[in-house]
Symmetry: C2
Subunit: 355 residues, 2 copies
């Protein structure tokens, strides 16, 4: 932890870029005074904003890029046309060792495509995955994949479990995270072949995972598992269902408070307690989805995140870099190879050959 | 609506059977004074409970069955061994025209297997689906499939859309329900081949559906669509994620109110408003999943539903029977055949031949 960390920022990504990116970095700078920042974006827009924050400016460098990836750009177009964009340059800084981790609030599909193309997947990992924290009754859990892989084989789910466990150790600071597979029932026979076969491999002792089996959708919020593994289609829909429901209830709650003068008074009195609840549910406090499985660290912030939200995403990035997440995952994969070559082949396909 | 409806009840299904079943029927009897009830279960347990409710007893008949389907029974076992169970007999009453609809709070897998075996699927329907109401910002929407079909083809999703639309007309009393497909993005290219192909067929004008395209998980709670179609794996996980999140927030809310004396006082003042919110979110007020696509109506109540919850499930059953849901679906399928034979073949496979 003695090494000074550098975070590269896509200054032009997100709905309110570059202003939210700078404001987020200002907040992050207070939380992590040792961290340095590399901003990639249009100098004429970024530098005046930065000038207003002397503290941040002293630990920041701005690199000019003309090109910006648009939200409407397809990943294939970004790969062909946007190699010099602020997004690509922020990732390249990680590849070239100029930064320890990159953060962008831009187009998710383009970010995943560019990150995979520039950083390449780790040996033994077939497909990178997108992971995120979500609030539970006990604190936070990690869910993956959240949409990087619409269709996954059992082997991919196993890779996600290994990467998710490493991520939980780094970001939730757990020694032995509890890993589960999302399914429509807890019994061994439930679900489809894909999840049943993944569960079989995950039960193998040589994986060193605390795998507890299947978990149902309504148990996720209870925090009974630290890592919830699923394919990108289901994971995306589960995460968004959770977000949508939380938003629905907060809105209905606000309406119920407005329903009478008494309710409004009641709200005022209970506000301090409610503030804690609101903070726990606020997506800005769980912002920062991580691309796991690459030779380098990349964090995706929500496009609509506030400055506080963007600072949370930077926080996730700093945590991952400090805990050397890439090394953790690489080490876990190597451990599997040393222990059991057949499992390794079942898991990664390429693990045995590449390492 | 002049015909007196009869509801057959599996008196032995659910966590607190038969007492919750009888108490639920007592509440339903107040709401639907014209409805008659057929209880299937152990006479020595059911009759004493019924005797305490003279009003209900006058419109009820008890049929003795010794056998009960257990929660741990596999569907295959239920099919082989439980044909004389209270659950099977309640469904048989629908088949034989003794009842208009059956309600059970027992083992879901066994209920689906028995219902499919006894009632058979409608001509033109390849697979029945489980549908349920869920609370939204605007009121209620319908989601299906919720777990009857773990793997579905595009054609199955199209069938679900047709059945879900008929269900929405019957239970939500809408003339032209808005139908959508659950996906990980709204753009045409998002998702997997299965949902993209289903969307293509659904856009066909001869289906007479108000199909609006893809919907993301976080939009479900906003009520932008009346019918949300998905496969049984995703639907089960989405529905349970929604339920789990609602439960989490209600618990956190309760904790926040307990956090100080002021908060507690605030809660007391705002309680009337909060009561409406609680009622809107209470799963007992949205209880009653419907098996669509069979030659007869079957409703599944949550095993843990309260008496009020069981009464809600009976209410869904009564609504479906009054609106002759089976005829509605059959009519919709026939309309497709008349309009466009090629679409019909794409949809049902067997529609063209059987009708």
């Amino acid at each position: 932890m003695s090494h000074t960390l550098t975070v590269s920022l896509d200054a032009m990504g997100g709905d309110a870029a570059p202003s939210v990116v700078i404001k987020g970095a200002v907040i992050a700078r207070e939380r992590y005074p040792d961290v340095r920042f590399l901003f990639f974006g249009r100098k004429d827009e970024v530098e005046p904003l930065l000038a207003a924050h002397a503290g941040l400016a002293t630990v920041s460098t701005v690199v000019h890029c003309d090109d910006i990836v648009r939200d409407s750009d397809k990943p294939s177009r970004a790969l062909r046309k946007s190699r010099e964009s602020s997004m690509a340059r922020a990732i390249l800084a990680v590849k070239h060792g100029e930064a320890d981790v990159a953060v962008s609030a831009g187009n998710t599909g383009a970010l995943m495509a560019l990150a995979k193309f520039i950083l390449r997947t780790l040996p033994g990992i077939d497909r990178p995955a997108l992971a995120s924290l979500l609030p539970t009754l006990r604190g936070e859990s990690i869910m993956l994949d959240l949409g990087a892989n619409v269709e996954c084989a059992s082997e991919n789910l196993v890779e996600f479990a290994i990467m998710g466990s490493a991520f939980a150790r780094a970001v939730l600071e757990l020694d032995n995270p509890v890993v589960s597979l999302l399914n429509i029932g807890e019994e061994d026979l439930k679900g489809n072949d894909k999840v049943r076969r993944a569960a079989e491999i995950l039960r193998s002792s040589s994986l060193h995972l605390d795998f507890v089996g299947f978990i149902e959708g309504d148990k996720v919020s209870e925090g009974v598992a630290d890592v919830i593994v699923t394919d990108g289609f289901t994971g995306n829909i589960a995460l968004k269902s959770i977000e949508g429901t939380a938003r629905l209830i907060v809105r209905l709650l606000a309406e119920s408070y407005k329903s009478s003068l008494m309710s409004r008074l009641g709200y005022l009195l209970s506000r301090p307690g409610l503030r804690g609840l609101r903070a726990h549910l606020d997506p800005n406090n769980h912002n920062g989805a991580v691309m796991l499985g690459l030779n380098g660290l990349v964090v995706k912030s929500h496009g609509g995140a506030s400055a506080t939200g963007f600072a949370t995403a930077i926080g996730v990035a700093v945590d991952m870099a400090r805990h050397r997440l890439t090394d953790l995952i690489t080490g876990d994969l190597a451990g599997i190879v040393l222990d059991d070559e057949s499992t390794a082949r079942a898991v990664g396909g390429a693990v045995g050959e590449d390492m």
